[in-house]
Symmetry: none
Subunit: 227 residues, 2 copies
DNA sequence: GGTTGGATTTTACAATTTGTTTACAACATT
DNA sequence: AATGTTGTAAACAAATTGTAAAATCCAACC
């Protein structure tokens, strides 16, 4: 039994999918627009998301992109109407796991669902965790512990930390961090980066005022060192 | 300073872009149609291409596609008029690095240009290390070691050292160093160079008062010798 | 609608670090 | 020796960073 989030605004289709998945023995949650989908996905951490491309408020591609950029690597299968072929490329590029074009038979969908679940649950076994000093991070679960004590990080803090972890040892400019961790349209001042680095130090360093991992490189930026 | 190829057929826009990029200190080449753009791109190998979607002879998407399929992976930023949203998907699919819709502010464009250049040149500069004698420099990590011992250099000292290493054996005038290592707007006195050379000697020479690598050439400048 | 609470961004100023100039002694060249 | 040049410590100036606190934003709830 898996937890499935179905995101679909056409009533007939959503009812059919719900019934179908429940008949297959899954635990189904529904969302009818992109924003709700995004919120529920983060809240429920479903095992699978069935995501229609055309949605009110926020389209499926953006939901997918947003989830990925927030660090959630939940399995996603996209649904699109025929003639939206172009979306396939982008959908996959933005991180969907599979893609199916309407109309499709329910059997076909179920087959793909199982393929995706098989693929991704295989990956799940090899938990993605990183640790440095007394800090352990489970990126999939969005959990950070220091001395086995849970530390609450905001989503921005987590994204920043993730970026650091993915680029150990490198000197990273503030502007690079703004590009990578903040949104593209209206980035804040570079000082905001300093602010957040200070927060990470406060929460994760043994001596925040004498950091060992989040290192300042004067005039250039910051450097994350694991040891 | 980067070489930029601007491909735009509307006169007003192309003049504005040219002026803007030249003001930013870039070396600008213009093209007004797709075929010319393609030829110039291959000929000049610019650091960046600003490519309008709507062009005579061959549209921007085709130019982009053609370049990619010919194996050129120059950074490309596409410009399109509002309402050509669909192009975004296609543009990215065909290999553009970023995309901006008219009308846009020049600041916005510049921000994206810088992001793209950073992304692409970051890949270029990876694992760039230089060394001389017992000194090794890892520019990405901002680390200098003498006999495997870490030496702390400020960013200006590091830039100066890098310049010396890239010009071994040459007699280099103080003014040349001011141009290359200091910023262009308000250069300090030439004596500041002496100051910094002294610092490098102190940190890197075995006998700072009897230097073997950072050699004074009386009345002319300095010379860096490797052995 | 408005309100609340948390996250995020901006601001402001102190602390720190780096960079520049000065001053004078030492040195090189004629 | 006279003159211009260089070495370098120390004083000074400027730029960068740390961080608390204020302002703003935003989503959730009434």
């Amino acid at each position: 039994m898996s937890k499935v989030l179905i995101v679909e605004d056409e009533h007939a289709m959503s009812v059919a999918l719900k019934d179908g998945f429940e008949f297959e023995g899954h635990d189904v949650t529904m969302a009818a627009d992109g924003e709700t989908a995004l919120r529920l996905a983060k809240e429920l951490m479903p095992d699978l998301i069935i995501l229609d491309v055309m949605l009110p408020k926020m389209n499926g591609l953006d939901v997918c992109k947003q989830l990925r950029s927030d660090g959630y690597d939940l399995p996603i299968i996209m649904l699109s109407a025929r003639g939206q072929e172009i979306d396939k490329v982008l959908g996959l590029k933005l991180g969907a796991d599979d893609y199916i074009t309407k109309p499709f038979s329910f059997m076909e969908l179920i087959a793909r669902v199982e393929a995706v679940l098989r693929r991704t649950s295989a990956n799940k076994a090899q938990q993605k965790t990183v640790s440095f000093g007394s800090v352990k991070i489970d990126l999939a679960k969005h959990e950070v512990r220091k001395n086995d004590q849970l530390v609450e990080l905001s989503s921005r803090e987590l994204r920043l930390l993730t970026y650091f972890i993915e680029h150990p040892g490198e000197v990273i400019e503030r502007d690079t961090l703004l590009d990578a961790v903040w949104d593209h349209d209206n980035p804040p001042l570079t000082r905001t980066v300093d602010m957040h680095v200070a927060k990470l130090r406060k929460k994760l360093e043994d001596q925040p005022s004498n950091p060992k991992h989040f290192i300042t490189v004067h005039r250039l930026g910051y450097k994350f060192v694991i040891d």
